[in-house]
Protein backbone atom coordinates (compact mmCIF):
# COMPACT_ATOMS: atom_id res chain seq x y z
CA UNK A 1 0.00 0.00 0.00
CA UNK A 2 1.13 3.44 -0.80
CA UNK A 3 2.57 4.96 2.36
CA UNK A 4 1.96 8.52 1.25
CA UNK A 5 -1.66 7.78 0.71
CA UNK A 6 -1.74 6.04 4.03
CA UNK A 7 -0.54 9.21 5.62
CA UNK A 8 -2.70 11.75 3.85
CA UNK A 9 -6.03 9.97 3.93
CA UNK A 10 -6.58 11.06 7.52
CA UNK A 11 -6.64 14.71 6.59
CA UNK A 12 -9.66 14.95 4.35
CA UNK A 13 -10.73 11.70 2.76
CA UNK A 14 -11.02 9.73 5.94
CA UNK A 15 -10.76 12.55 8.40
CA UNK A 16 -11.82 11.10 11.72
CA UNK A 17 -13.79 14.16 12.73
CA UNK A 18 -15.27 15.62 9.58
CA UNK A 19 -15.88 12.42 7.69
CA UNK A 20 -15.99 9.55 10.13
CA UNK A 21 -17.42 11.59 13.01
CA UNK A 22 -15.34 9.84 15.60
CA UNK A 23 -14.31 11.17 18.96
CA UNK A 24 -16.91 13.87 19.01
CA UNK A 25 -16.63 14.56 22.72
CA UNK A 26 -13.09 15.91 22.73
CA UNK A 27 -13.74 17.52 19.39
CA UNK A 28 -16.50 19.60 20.83
CA UNK A 29 -15.24 19.84 24.36
CA UNK A 30 -11.77 21.24 24.03
CA UNK A 31 -11.93 23.38 20.93
CA UNK A 32 -12.70 26.70 22.52
CA UNK A 33 -9.39 27.87 21.13
CA UNK A 34 -6.99 26.80 18.44
CA UNK A 35 -4.25 26.10 20.92
CA UNK A 36 -6.40 23.79 22.99
CA UNK A 37 -7.48 21.97 19.87
CA UNK A 38 -3.88 21.56 18.80
CA UNK A 39 -2.82 20.36 22.23
CA UNK A 40 -5.55 17.79 22.42
CA UNK A 41 -4.89 16.74 18.86
CA UNK A 42 -1.23 16.20 19.50
CA UNK A 43 -1.88 14.31 22.71
CA UNK A 44 -4.22 12.03 20.84
CA UNK A 45 -1.72 11.67 18.02
CA UNK A 46 0.92 10.58 20.49
CA UNK A 47 -1.32 7.94 21.98
CA UNK A 48 -2.46 6.83 18.56
CA UNK A 49 1.04 6.48 17.16
CA UNK A 50 2.40 4.73 20.20
CA UNK A 51 -0.55 2.41 20.50
CA UNK A 52 -0.34 1.59 16.81
CA UNK A 53 3.35 0.86 17.09
CA UNK A 54 3.01 -1.36 20.10
CA UNK A 55 -0.03 -3.14 18.79
CA UNK A 56 1.60 -3.90 15.48
CA UNK A 57 4.64 -5.15 17.31
CA UNK A 58 2.81 -7.45 19.66
CA UNK A 59 0.00 -8.43 17.36
CA UNK A 60 1.35 -11.87 16.85
CA UNK A 61 1.75 -12.60 20.52
CA UNK A 62 -1.77 -11.79 21.37
CA UNK A 63 -4.37 -14.45 20.81
CA UNK A 64 -7.41 -13.12 18.98
CA UNK A 65 -9.81 -13.51 21.81
CA UNK A 66 -7.99 -11.26 24.23
CA UNK A 67 -7.17 -8.72 21.60
CA UNK A 68 -9.56 -6.02 22.69
CA UNK A 69 -8.76 -6.16 26.43
CA UNK A 70 -5.06 -6.09 25.69
CA UNK A 71 -5.45 -3.15 23.37
CA UNK A 72 -7.41 -1.29 25.98
CA UNK A 73 -4.63 -1.82 28.48
CA UNK A 74 -2.01 -0.67 26.03
CA UNK A 75 -3.94 2.42 25.11
CA UNK A 76 -4.77 3.26 28.68
CA UNK A 77 -1.10 3.01 29.54
CA UNK A 78 -0.13 5.57 26.97
CA UNK A 79 -2.95 7.83 27.98
CA UNK A 80 -1.74 7.74 31.53
CA UNK A 81 1.76 8.52 30.37
CA UNK A 82 0.49 11.54 28.47
CA UNK A 83 -1.45 12.57 31.50
CA UNK A 84 1.55 12.35 33.80
CA UNK A 85 3.92 14.07 31.45
CA UNK A 86 1.52 16.88 30.76
CA UNK A 87 0.82 17.41 34.41
CA UNK A 88 4.50 17.67 35.07
CA UNK A 89 5.64 19.76 32.17
CA UNK A 90 2.62 21.48 30.67
CA UNK A 91 0.42 22.11 33.68
CA UNK A 92 -1.44 25.03 32.09
CA UNK A 93 -2.50 23.06 29.05
CA UNK A 94 -3.41 20.12 31.21
CA UNK A 95 -5.72 22.32 33.22
CA UNK A 96 -7.55 23.55 30.18
CA UNK A 97 -7.95 20.14 28.59
CA UNK A 98 -8.97 18.67 31.89
CA UNK A 99 -11.19 15.67 31.78
CA UNK A 100 -10.70 15.03 28.11
CA UNK A 101 -7.18 13.68 28.43
CA UNK A 102 -8.23 10.53 30.29
CA UNK A 103 -11.12 10.24 27.89
CA UNK A 104 -8.70 9.61 25.03
CA UNK A 105 -8.99 6.02 26.21
CA UNK A 106 -12.51 5.72 24.94
CA UNK A 107 -11.92 7.73 21.80
CA UNK A 108 -12.95 5.38 19.04
CA UNK A 109 -10.28 6.73 16.73
CA UNK A 110 -7.60 5.19 18.87
CA UNK A 111 -9.12 1.81 19.51
CA UNK A 112 -10.50 1.75 16.02
CA UNK A 113 -7.13 2.25 14.35
CA UNK A 114 -5.43 -0.23 16.63
CA UNK A 115 -8.01 -2.84 15.88
CA UNK A 116 -8.73 -2.13 12.27
CA UNK A 117 -5.28 -1.23 11.06
CA UNK A 118 -2.39 -1.87 13.38
CA UNK A 119 -3.44 -5.36 14.25
CA UNK A 120 -3.21 -6.27 10.58
CA UNK A 121 -0.30 -4.26 9.26
CA UNK A 122 3.39 -3.99 9.80
CA UNK A 123 5.15 -1.55 12.03
CA UNK A 124 5.96 1.11 9.49
CA UNK A 125 2.51 1.22 7.97
CA UNK A 126 0.96 1.29 11.41
CA UNK A 127 3.17 4.14 12.48
CA UNK A 128 2.34 6.12 9.39
CA UNK A 129 -1.31 5.33 9.69
CA UNK A 130 -1.33 6.44 13.30
CA UNK A 131 0.53 9.58 12.49
CA UNK A 132 -1.73 10.41 9.57
CA UNK A 133 -4.92 9.76 11.43
CA UNK A 134 -3.68 11.52 14.52
CA UNK A 135 -2.56 14.57 12.62
CA UNK A 136 -5.83 14.55 10.75
CA UNK A 137 -7.58 14.58 14.08
CA UNK A 138 -5.30 17.33 15.31
CA UNK A 139 -5.89 19.27 12.12
CA UNK A 140 -9.62 19.05 12.55
CA UNK A 141 -9.49 20.09 16.18
CA UNK A 142 -7.19 22.97 15.45
CA UNK A 143 -9.35 24.13 12.59
CA UNK A 144 -12.48 23.98 14.69
CA UNK A 145 -10.71 25.63 17.60
CA UNK A 146 -9.38 28.33 15.29
CA UNK A 147 -12.78 29.04 13.82
CA UNK A 148 -14.40 29.21 17.22
CA UNK A 149 -11.66 31.36 18.64
CA UNK A 150 -11.76 33.67 15.64
CA UNK A 151 -15.50 34.12 15.68
CA UNK A 152 -15.80 34.20 19.42
CA UNK A 153 -12.90 36.28 20.57
CA UNK A 154 -11.40 37.79 17.49
CA UNK A 155 -8.11 36.01 17.95
CA UNK A 156 -6.29 33.09 16.38
CA UNK A 157 -3.70 31.34 18.53
CA UNK A 158 -4.20 34.21 20.91
CA UNK A 159 -3.19 36.78 18.29
CA UNK A 160 -5.72 39.49 18.01
CA UNK A 161 -7.30 39.79 14.60
CA UNK A 162 -10.07 42.19 15.41
CA UNK A 163 -11.17 43.85 18.65
CA UNK A 164 -12.68 41.47 21.11
CA UNK A 165 -15.83 43.48 21.56
CA UNK A 166 -16.95 42.36 18.11
CA UNK A 167 -16.48 38.72 19.01
CA UNK A 168 -19.53 36.52 19.22
CA UNK A 169 -19.11 35.00 22.63
CA UNK A 170 -21.48 32.18 21.82
CA UNK A 171 -18.91 30.52 19.63
CA UNK A 172 -16.59 29.97 22.55
CA UNK A 173 -19.40 28.47 24.57
CA UNK A 174 -20.99 25.05 24.24
CA UNK A 175 -23.64 25.85 21.62
CA UNK A 176 -21.02 27.44 19.41
CA UNK A 177 -19.12 24.17 19.33
CA UNK A 178 -22.06 22.29 17.87
CA UNK A 179 -22.99 25.02 15.44
CA UNK A 180 -19.47 25.66 14.19
CA UNK A 181 -18.81 21.95 13.71
CA UNK A 182 -22.15 21.54 11.94
CA UNK A 183 -21.31 24.17 9.36
CA UNK A 184 -17.72 23.02 9.02
CA UNK A 185 -18.90 19.51 8.18
CA UNK A 186 -21.42 20.88 5.73
CA UNK A 187 -18.74 22.92 4.00
CA UNK A 188 -16.29 20.05 3.91
CA UNK A 189 -18.93 17.70 2.56
CA UNK A 190 -19.63 20.20 -0.14
CA UNK A 191 -16.03 20.34 -1.26
CA UNK A 192 -15.43 16.66 -0.82
CA UNK A 193 -18.25 15.80 -3.15
CA UNK A 194 -17.58 18.52 -5.65
Amino acid sequence: MNQMNNFTKGFIKENPVFVLLLGMCPTLGVTSSAINGLGMGLATTFVLVMANIVVSMVKNFIPDKVRIPSFIVIIATFVTIVELVMKGYLPALFDSLGLFIPLIVVNCVVLGRAEAFASKNNLLSSLIDGLGMGLGFAFALTLLGGVREFLGAGTIFNMTVYPEKYGMLLFILAPGAFIALGYLIAIINHFRKA
Binding site: P26, P102, L103
Partner: protein
Amino acid sequence: MEYIVIIIAAILSNNIVLAQFLGICPFLGVSKKISTAVGMTGAVTFVMTLATIVTYLVQKFVLDPFGLGFLQTISFILIIASLVQLVEIVLKKVSPSLYQALGVFLPLITTNCAILGVAILTIQNDYNLMEGVVYAIASAVGFGVALILFAGLREHLDLINVPKGMKGTPVALIVAGILAMAFMGFAGLV
Protein backbone atom coordinates in the same frame (compact mmCIF):
# COMPACT_ATOMS: atom_id res chain seq x y z
CA MET B 1 -30.05 21.11 49.50
CA GLU B 2 -26.64 19.92 48.39
CA TYR B 3 -28.31 17.16 46.43
CA ILE B 4 -30.78 19.48 44.77
CA VAL B 5 -27.92 21.63 43.60
CA ILE B 6 -26.16 18.59 42.15
CA ILE B 7 -29.31 17.34 40.48
CA ILE B 8 -30.35 20.61 38.88
CA ALA B 9 -26.84 21.32 37.74
CA ALA B 10 -26.38 17.91 36.15
CA ILE B 11 -29.73 17.88 34.39
CA LEU B 12 -30.21 21.47 33.35
CA SER B 13 -27.52 24.07 33.74
CA ASN B 14 -24.58 21.75 33.35
CA ASN B 15 -26.16 19.11 31.21
CA ILE B 16 -23.73 16.34 30.57
CA VAL B 17 -24.28 16.33 26.82
CA LEU B 18 -25.18 19.88 26.02
CA ALA B 19 -22.75 21.67 28.28
CA GLN B 20 -20.08 19.14 29.16
CA PHE B 21 -19.82 17.31 25.87
CA LEU B 22 -19.83 13.82 27.25
CA GLY B 23 -21.52 10.94 25.50
CA ILE B 24 -21.89 12.75 22.20
CA CYS B 25 -21.55 9.53 20.19
CA PRO B 26 -24.66 7.83 21.56
CA PHE B 27 -26.35 11.21 21.59
CA LEU B 28 -25.88 11.43 17.85
CA GLY B 29 -26.18 7.70 17.27
CA VAL B 30 -29.07 6.34 19.31
CA SER B 31 -31.32 9.31 18.88
CA LYS B 32 -33.23 8.12 15.87
CA LYS B 33 -36.18 6.66 17.69
CA ILE B 34 -37.90 8.02 20.72
CA SER B 35 -38.65 4.65 22.27
CA THR B 36 -35.03 3.55 22.07
CA ALA B 37 -33.96 6.85 23.56
CA VAL B 38 -36.23 6.27 26.53
CA GLY B 39 -34.91 2.74 27.00
CA MET B 40 -31.33 3.87 26.71
CA THR B 41 -31.89 6.36 29.49
CA GLY B 42 -33.02 3.62 31.86
CA ALA B 43 -30.13 1.37 31.00
CA VAL B 44 -27.56 4.13 31.25
CA THR B 45 -28.90 5.15 34.64
CA PHE B 46 -28.33 1.66 35.99
CA VAL B 47 -24.91 1.25 34.51
CA MET B 48 -23.75 4.72 35.44
CA THR B 49 -24.80 4.24 39.03
CA LEU B 50 -23.09 0.89 39.34
CA ALA B 51 -19.97 2.16 37.63
CA THR B 52 -19.80 5.15 39.92
CA ILE B 53 -20.16 3.04 43.03
CA VAL B 54 -17.47 0.59 41.96
CA THR B 55 -14.99 3.15 40.74
CA TYR B 56 -15.56 5.26 43.80
CA LEU B 57 -14.77 2.33 46.06
CA VAL B 58 -11.70 1.43 44.07
CA GLN B 59 -10.43 4.97 44.15
CA LYS B 60 -11.05 5.55 47.82
CA PHE B 61 -10.08 2.18 49.15
CA VAL B 62 -7.49 0.92 46.74
CA LEU B 63 -5.85 3.66 44.76
CA ASP B 64 -5.75 6.46 47.28
CA PRO B 65 -4.37 4.48 50.24
CA PHE B 66 -1.52 3.21 48.12
CA GLY B 67 -0.85 6.52 46.45
CA LEU B 68 -1.80 5.17 43.08
CA GLY B 69 -4.02 8.07 41.96
CA PHE B 70 -2.33 8.04 38.60
CA LEU B 71 -3.77 4.63 37.84
CA GLN B 72 -7.24 6.15 37.79
CA THR B 73 -7.68 6.19 34.05
CA ILE B 74 -6.47 2.73 33.33
CA SER B 75 -8.22 1.04 36.20
CA PHE B 76 -11.50 2.85 35.67
CA ILE B 77 -11.69 1.96 32.03
CA LEU B 78 -11.01 -1.67 32.74
CA ILE B 79 -13.46 -1.81 35.58
CA ILE B 80 -16.21 -0.10 33.66
CA ALA B 81 -15.69 -2.17 30.56
CA SER B 82 -15.84 -5.40 32.47
CA LEU B 83 -18.74 -4.26 34.62
CA VAL B 84 -20.85 -3.56 31.58
CA GLN B 85 -20.04 -6.92 30.14
CA LEU B 86 -20.57 -8.67 33.45
CA VAL B 87 -24.09 -7.32 33.74
CA GLU B 88 -24.81 -8.72 30.31
CA ILE B 89 -23.37 -12.15 31.03
CA VAL B 90 -25.19 -12.47 34.30
CA LEU B 91 -28.44 -11.37 32.77
CA LYS B 92 -28.06 -13.82 29.98
CA LYS B 93 -27.35 -16.64 32.38
CA VAL B 94 -30.06 -15.91 34.89
CA SER B 95 -32.85 -15.00 32.54
CA PRO B 96 -32.34 -15.67 28.88
CA SER B 97 -35.80 -14.54 27.89
CA LEU B 98 -35.46 -11.24 29.66
CA TYR B 99 -32.14 -10.84 27.99
CA GLN B 100 -33.68 -11.59 24.61
CA ALA B 101 -36.36 -9.00 25.14
CA LEU B 102 -33.81 -6.37 26.05
CA GLY B 103 -31.80 -7.28 23.01
CA VAL B 104 -34.69 -6.50 20.73
CA PHE B 105 -35.52 -3.34 22.57
CA LEU B 106 -32.16 -1.72 23.09
CA PRO B 107 -28.73 -1.45 21.59
CA LEU B 108 -25.89 -2.54 23.84
CA ILE B 109 -24.42 -0.04 26.15
CA THR B 110 -20.73 0.24 25.71
CA THR B 111 -18.30 2.15 27.69
CA ASN B 112 -18.54 5.65 26.48
CA CYS B 113 -17.13 8.90 27.62
CA ALA B 114 -20.21 9.68 29.60
CA ILE B 115 -19.78 6.77 31.97
CA LEU B 116 -16.05 7.12 32.34
CA GLY B 117 -16.38 10.90 32.53
CA VAL B 118 -18.95 10.79 35.30
CA ALA B 119 -16.85 8.33 37.26
CA ILE B 120 -13.82 10.58 37.00
CA LEU B 121 -15.79 13.75 37.72
CA THR B 122 -17.22 12.21 40.85
CA ILE B 123 -13.70 11.87 42.15
CA GLN B 124 -12.55 15.25 40.83
CA ASN B 125 -15.46 17.08 42.42
CA ASP B 126 -14.67 15.50 45.77
CA TYR B 127 -18.10 14.08 46.15
CA ASN B 128 -18.73 11.51 48.79
CA LEU B 129 -20.32 8.23 47.75
CA MET B 130 -23.88 9.39 48.13
CA GLU B 131 -23.26 12.63 46.30
CA GLY B 132 -21.42 10.74 43.63
CA VAL B 133 -24.33 8.39 43.11
CA VAL B 134 -26.82 11.23 43.00
CA TYR B 135 -24.58 12.97 40.54
CA ALA B 136 -24.40 9.85 38.40
CA ILE B 137 -28.15 9.43 38.37
CA ALA B 138 -28.75 13.07 37.61
CA SER B 139 -26.21 12.94 34.82
CA ALA B 140 -27.95 9.93 33.34
CA VAL B 141 -31.25 11.74 33.53
CA GLY B 142 -29.65 14.77 31.95
CA PHE B 143 -28.34 12.54 29.21
CA GLY B 144 -31.82 11.10 28.83
CA VAL B 145 -33.51 14.47 28.64
CA ALA B 146 -31.14 15.65 25.96
CA LEU B 147 -31.40 12.34 24.11
CA ILE B 148 -35.18 12.18 24.12
CA LEU B 149 -35.64 15.79 23.07
CA PHE B 150 -33.10 15.26 20.36
CA ALA B 151 -34.77 12.05 19.20
CA GLY B 152 -38.03 13.93 18.80
CA LEU B 153 -36.29 16.64 16.82
CA ARG B 154 -34.57 14.06 14.64
CA GLU B 155 -37.88 12.46 13.80
CA HIS B 156 -39.08 15.89 12.77
CA LEU B 157 -35.99 16.37 10.62
CA ASP B 158 -36.67 13.07 8.88
CA LEU B 159 -39.97 14.40 7.63
CA ILE B 160 -38.86 17.71 6.24
CA ASN B 161 -36.75 18.48 3.25
CA VAL B 162 -33.50 19.69 4.68
CA PRO B 163 -31.27 21.43 2.12
CA LYS B 164 -28.97 18.97 0.47
CA GLY B 165 -25.69 20.06 2.01
CA MET B 166 -27.12 20.21 5.49
CA LYS B 167 -28.65 16.75 5.51
CA GLY B 168 -27.59 14.30 8.18
CA THR B 169 -24.96 15.27 10.69
CA PRO B 170 -24.66 18.99 9.95
CA VAL B 171 -28.28 19.75 10.60
CA ALA B 172 -28.32 17.45 13.61
CA LEU B 173 -25.40 19.39 15.05
CA ILE B 174 -27.13 22.69 14.42
CA VAL B 175 -30.18 21.42 16.25
CA ALA B 176 -27.97 20.26 19.11
CA GLY B 177 -26.36 23.68 19.13
CA ILE B 178 -29.64 25.54 19.37
CA LEU B 179 -30.75 23.12 22.05
CA ALA B 180 -27.56 23.79 23.98
CA MET B 181 -28.18 27.49 23.54
CA ALA B 182 -31.66 27.14 24.95
CA PHE B 183 -30.32 25.19 27.89
CA MET B 184 -27.97 28.07 28.69
CA GLY B 185 -31.04 29.82 29.95
CA PHE B 186 -30.84 27.59 32.98
CA ALA B 187 -27.51 29.14 33.87
CA GLY B 188 -27.26 30.11 37.48
CA LEU B 189 -30.38 28.16 38.35
CA VAL B 190 -28.75 26.63 41.37
